[in-house]
Amino acid sequence: MTTQKKDTILKVDNIHHSYGKFKVLNGISLEVKRGGITALIGPNGAGKTTFYNVISGKFPPTRGKIYFNNIDITGFPPHKIVKLKLLRSFQITNIFPELTVEENILIPLILKRGKCYSFFKDLKKYKEFYIEAENIMNNLGLIEFKNRTVSELAYGDKRLVEIGITFASDPEMILLDEPTAGMNPAETERTVNLIKDLSEKSNVTFFITEHDMNVVFSVSEYIFVLHQGSLLAQGTPEEIKNNQEVKEAYLGGSV
């Protein structure tokens, strides 16, 4: 990992979001540097998923601006944000359940290459898609399930397919929402190693949320802490570990 000064890939400027009268995000501003793994943590209900939803275009912020690679993407629909190579994965497994693993990976590849509206050429003739899909499946250890219907796979493998779909879009930055949620320790370890591996091999910037602190402290280089819709703290894992405010927010004075 390089120590040279990195430029900003994602800049969020004072964003707000509310559901009806209930405020979920309360003016968050932060900058994510290019490369490596940055984490977004916070107790349940702090607004992490909403924050991701707003950045990825599921709904626009009620106030504030979002810049990706210095482009103002505030209010863009999801598919346009994807075209700019800002991708996301989901906390609840979000895949194409009745299709095979290979087909799941092929879909983003087709979209990425702009072959969505190719109506008459046989998909099988796009050899390069299959090669690329094979690569991705290899990287994720999914190759043995290539022709299996995703809904039949174990939970951990489904999550990997989910990451695979995200990765296939050739992202510059990935928002990973709770990649290890609901996984057993072995699956968690496998996924963590995979993310580290992907981060080192590629130039992708990872921005992850995670509830498992061990995972967070072991993978991330920089951490943002959300609390009740606001940014509570930011810093390196060491700084965050020793931050009294963060401790209190997490443990609620019960320790």
Binding site: F22, N44, G45, G182, M183, Q228, L251, G252, G253, S254
Partner: protein, 232 residues
């Protein structure tokens, strides 16, 4: 009160609960502890009747309720507060209570709106707000109050502190302890600190199986269990 005997529960084709037995006695708070995805919510949904077990039995006051419908179980006296609270969003808090009132059971002091207001005072201020307008903590407290309107003999609380700010969690703990004087509670929690502080006994669940059971003190001391199965 409640006795769950070796239940096996499927959601679709996936085998979620792989043989769980547990028991709640009068006057107790029992905690069901485990990680996200361990099977806590599924266990609750199975007990209340949303997901009847494929195998195994559930007894409530020595009556086999395994095959009952949800509303029948609620009428028998099992109050249910789901993980996501689920207030009726278009109804006011007061209306949420009104539709939930069930005739009281013999030998149990009946819950009325006034009694709820006096036991849980914050609710009174919220009574004219709509369910959808409340914050997470308010929703949780109102959801518990709503379950009381059913005049339950036993309360199931699924992940009461999920998504709540620490201050509110503390407040919630007090409410739960107060309720304990009237009604036994089975509660599921990820937050072991919170749960063990207020409960008498606990079960630790992982991957659909009970891994450990014992008193709250035993669990507090057992660091190995905590590290392996709980997100501490």
């Amino acid at each position: 009160m409640l006795k769950v005997e070796d239940i096996h529960v499927y959601i679709g084709d996936s085998y979620i609960i792989q043989g769980i037995s547990l028991e709640v006695k009068k006057g107790e708070i029992v905690a069901l502890l485990g990680r996200n995805g361990a099977g806590k919510t599924t266990t609750f949904k199975s007990i209340i009747g949303y997901l009847p077990p494929k195998k195994g039995n559930i007894f409530f006051e020595n009556v086999n309720i395994t095959k009952n419908k949800v509303f029948q179980n609620v009428r028998l006296g099992i109050g249910y507060v789901p993980e996501d609270r689920r207030l009726f969003p278009d109804l006011t808090v007061r209306e949420n209570f009104e539709v939930s009132f069930l005739p009281p059971h013999e030998g149990i002091e009946p819950w009325t709106i006034d009694r709820i207001f006096s036991e849980i005072p914050i609710v009174e201020k919220l009574q004219n707000k709509k369910g959808g307008e409340l914050s997470g903590g308010e929703q949780q407290i109102v959801a518990i109050a709503r379950a009381l309107c059913c005049n339950p003999k036993l309360l199931l609380l699924d992940e009461p502190c999920e998504g709540l700010a620490p201050v509110i969690v503390e407040e919630l703990g007090e409410i739960i302890l107060k309720l304990k004087q009237h009604i036994p509670i089975l509660m599921s929690e990820q937050n072991a600190h919170f749960a063990l502080k207020i409960s008498d006994r606990g079960y630790v669940i992982d991957k659909g199986k009970i891994k450990f059971s014992g008193s709250a003190n035993q669990l507090k001391e057992n660091k190995e269990i905590q590290e392996r199965y709980l997100a501490v």
